[in-house]
């Protein structure tokens, strides 16, 4: 057997308190197509970043060609011929296809570079997607998303003088149509047959099962299975990903889950472009879970509901004031220059005024009472918000929403990177507030949290593909619906 292209030994990676990788061993040989699967937060993308050198492991070692690489980084990865097609586009939208190829290859310069770059990328596109219809002098922003993806993928396979041995493809088919996807996957087989190696990450399990030689399943930052494809079928993959074999407790933590809510719907929502299909509804007192793989339309749903509040009912109808708890604290939630109290009260300013002025006493009283109720650990609510730990910052965002007059609370995966203590505090509060008649729409990527919901809607590719009452919720069903095949 050939020497490995790259080998990870007991690699761990932690971001603060969160352990993204908990000791991963992985070796990649030439001539192998590897499939990597796992549910949200299993550690796949962290692993990819370690392989491409953009993230250094906390502990563990990386070796290549038999020798250890203690200072592994982007430059070494490039020299080893490891490339990655990330999910977020890394093309310059204002440049042409040829110019983007040039950005990747310093060698393409001097007289006639544009022609050479154009030929290079066109030839690659011709090989991979025979009827691609892309001119190398087209500006990227003029291309459809699917064609941009084709350019991005083809570019990763072009070579000038650097080697090309391993290409990591992170959900490469997400914006390709089925026949183009097949062309791509067929090409990766040829690439592998010529001695290259690929790592394919995909939520479409048939792609993994049909095109990979070996499948690695990740769960909770560990590799839980690493075998030849023959050892797996669809059902086994799902079971392995979900860990159902461990006999996961399916006991409902919420007795309220059995109580059917009464009254008219406060929220009605249908995804954009859907006329039939499942409609999401939520009544007073209900906790509604939005599940599925990350980025399949759950956050869009929340933002649309947020924007529809107070507007005329249509595809989305919302009755009552809304407040949103952001999951991405830094970009959607925190005001970094403000104190904890200011951050809590910003949603309620209108109701804290006396005459034209905001009353500091009333604002402090509101912030202080929610500090107590939700248990924000700080000596003084007038300290800067950034003096808090991540979990406590998140509590402040919860306090902002719960302390407001909102009857509908939208939660955008708010427990990302939050410690278990905070979670338990907040779960209790959500149940309490729901019992008082508030409605919760809760997008979460964590299976355990769905157990707090009365009803769960599973999203895939921007559509609602399943609605499960709490009683029917199992991890397997969620994964099954999330990974379901495109209808053949």
């Amino acid at each position: 057997m050939d020497r490995e292209i790259i080998q990870l030994n007991a690699v761990t990676k932690s971001f603060g308190a969160v352990q993204a990788l908990r000791g991963v061993d992985l070796s990649i040989q030439p001539g192998q197509a590897l499939g990597l699967v796992g549910h949200n937060g299993a550690g796949k993308s962290t692993l990819m970043h370690v392989l491409t050198g953009t993230i250094a492991p906390t502990t563990g070692s990386i070796a290549s060609g038999g020798g250890a690489r203690p200072d592994y980084g982007v430059a070494i990865a490039k020299r080893l011929g490891i490339r990655c097609v990330f999910q977020e586009l890394s093309l310059c939208p204002n440049l042409t296809v040829a110019e983007n190829t040039r950005i990747m290859h310093p060698r393409l310069r001097g007289f006639g570079w544009r022609r050479r770059a154009g030929r290079l990328i066109t030839r690659q596109l011709d090989t991979m997607f025979p009827d691609h219809g892309i001119r190398s002098d087209t500006v990227i922003s003029d291309l459809s998303i699917g064609r941009r993806q084709m350019v991005e993928i083809a570019r990763a396979f072009t070579t000038t003088d650097d080697p090309l041995r391993l290409v990591i493809l992170d959900e490469p088919t997400s914006s390709l149509d089925p026949s183009t996807s097949r062309q791509l996957l067929a090409f990766t087989r040829r690439f592998v047959a010529d001695g290259g190696a690929t790592i394919l990450i995909s939520h479409l399990l048939h792609e993994i099962l049909d095109y990979c030689d070996r499948i690695v399943v990740m769960r909770d930052g560990r590799v839980v299975a690493d075998e030849g494809t023959a050892a797996f079928d669809r059902a086994k993959l799902i079971v392995t990903m979900g860990g159902a074999a461990e006999g996961h407790a399916a006991e409902a933590p919420v007795s309220a889950a059995t109580v059917a809510a009464e009254g008219p719907a406060r929220v009605r929502y249908r995804p954009k472009g859907e006329t039939g299909g499942t409609e999401l509804t939520a009544q007073a007192g209900e906790i509604i879970g939005l599940a599925g793989l990350a980025g399949h339309g759950q956050s869009d749903c929340l933002v649309e509901v947020f924007d529809a509040a107070g507007g005329r009912p249509g595809r989305v109808s919302v009755q009552g004031p809304v407040a949103l708890v952001a999951g991405d604290r830094q970009t959607d939630g925190i005001f970094p220059l403000w104190s904890i109290a200011d951050n809590i009260t910003v949603r309620s300013l209108g109701s804290l005024t006396q005459g034209p002025l905001i009353s500091p006493q009333r604002a402090d009283a509101l912030a202080e009472s929610w500090k107590q109720r939700i248990g924000i650990r700080t000596p003084d609510i007038h300290n800067n918000i950034l003096s808090l730990s991540g979990g406590n910052q998140q509590k402040a965002l919860f306090a902002r929403a719960l302390g407001s007059d909102a009857e509908i609370i939208l939660m955008d995966d708010p427990m990302r990177g939050v410690d278990i203590g905070t979670k338990l505090d907040v779960y209790g509060l959500i149940r309490e507030e729901a019992a008082r008649g508030r409605t919760f729409l809760w997008y979460t990527t964590e299976m355990d949290e769905l157990e707090h919901c009365h009803r769960i809607y599973i999203f895939r590719n921007g559509r609602i593909v399943a609605a499960l009452p709490r009683a029917e919720l199992t991890e397997e069903r969620v994964i099954h619906s999330s990974f379901q095949e495109a209808v053949a």
């Binding site: 947020f306 809304v322 407040a323 949103l324 952001a326 970009t331 959607d332 939630g333 925190i334 005001f335 970094p336 220059l337 403000w338 200011d342 910003v346 949603r347 300013l349 209108g350 005024t353 034209p356 002025l357 905001i358 500091p360 902002r400 407001s404």
Partner: protein
């Protein structure tokens, strides 16, 4: 040791102290150079002149606090036009002073609203919107005030230069207005919204604040303050002039930056405006009295702005 640290951290949280320290330092130098003469008169003159700078600076500060890219380049043209409007409406008559002031403020308000509409409807950065509107306003100003050199009403001219115990009455009024602006920022829904939008426009929207209304009000406010300043300047300089606003383009931004307002948005600093305005005036005085020309003054102003911004850091280094 810990006391020093506390003092240091207080300096960090109150960046306006620097501008006052700078002003005091320059003042001391100027007085020493002048052989100890005129220490008091330099201060009172500086205060009188600073009133105008601060007035424009307040509007610019609200705009800049809205976050990166927000800036009003139409202020000089606005001031020029408003000074002409005020003088024409007052028409040298004491009885029409209030009317003239109102007209000037209204002119500024309209300019601010037009600026916002350009930004919103054409979806162009504020810089370009206010830039193009300034071209047009300047022409309107020239053609409106053509050839006319109307003197301000006597009572108005007296009022603008009036002093009580050596302190300019106008400066006291502007000081009251600054305090009001500080209160608005800290204690009203609008002011808090300005600060929130400037820190994180997305988070502000998701926290239920009306981003559009906040931006509209801010550009309108800045325009109105520019208009008011134009009218007062006309009284101060004895008649309207289109060039009266020219120096306020750079000065209005300079006092905001030097005064410790964050150019990344979300943090405004009212006292700093006064410190910076006083300092800039003191520098001018110092350089004049030491025989150095306007060139050195400009050079110093530019270097100070760059030094302040480099030390304060940009957006990402703040985080």
């Amino acid at each position: 040791m810990s006391g020093q640290l506390a003092a240091l951290s207080r300096l960090r949280t109150r960046p306006w102290i620097w501008s006052f320290l700078g002003a005091a330092l320059v003042w001391a130098l100027a007085v020493i150079l002048a052989g100890g003469h005129g220490a008091w008169s330099v201060i009172t003159t500086a205060i009188a002149f600073s009133a105008f700078t601060v007035l424009v600076g307040l509007g610019q500060m609200f705009v800049i606090t809205l976050g990166p890219g927000n800036i009003d380049l139409s202020l000089p043209a606005n001031i020029g036009l408003a000074s002409a409007v005020a003088m024409k409406v007052m028409d040298g008559s004491d009885g029409r002073i209030a009317l003239g002031l109102l007209a000037a403020v209204a002119a500024g308000l309209v300019i601010g609203i037009v600026n916002y509409l350009l930004i919103r409807l054409l979806r162009i950065p504020p810089l370009i919107a206010t830039l193009s509107s300034s071209f047009v306003i300047r022409s309107v100003g020239i053609s409106y005030g053509r050839g006319l050199q109307i003197k301000p009403p006597l009572a108005f001219a007296d009022l603008v230069v009036a002093r009580l115990g050596g302190i300019s009455v106008l400066a006291v009024l502007v000081l009251l207005l600054s305090i009001l602006a500080g209160v608005v920022l800290a204690r009203t829904v609008y002011g808090r919204s300005v600060l929130a939008v400037g820190q994180n426009i997305r988070a502000a929207r998701l926290a239920g604040l009306s981003v559009r209304r906040v931006r509209f009000l801010t550009y309108a406010l800045c325009g109105a303050l520019g208009g008011l300043c134009g009218a007062l300047l006309a009284g101060f300089t004895g008649g309207s002039s289109l060039d009266v606003g020219a120096e306020y383009l750079l000065t209005s931004i300079a006092v905001v930056v030097i005064g410790g307002t964050s150019v990344a948005g979300g943090m405004a600093n009212v006292p700093g405006l006064w410190g910076a305005a006083l300092m800039l005036f003191m520098i001018a005085t110092l350089l004049n009295s030491s025989g150095l020309g306007i060139g050195v003054r400009d050079l110093m102003t530019g270097l100070i702005i760059i030094a302040v911004i480099t030390l304060a850091g940009g957006r990402r280094s703040l985080r």
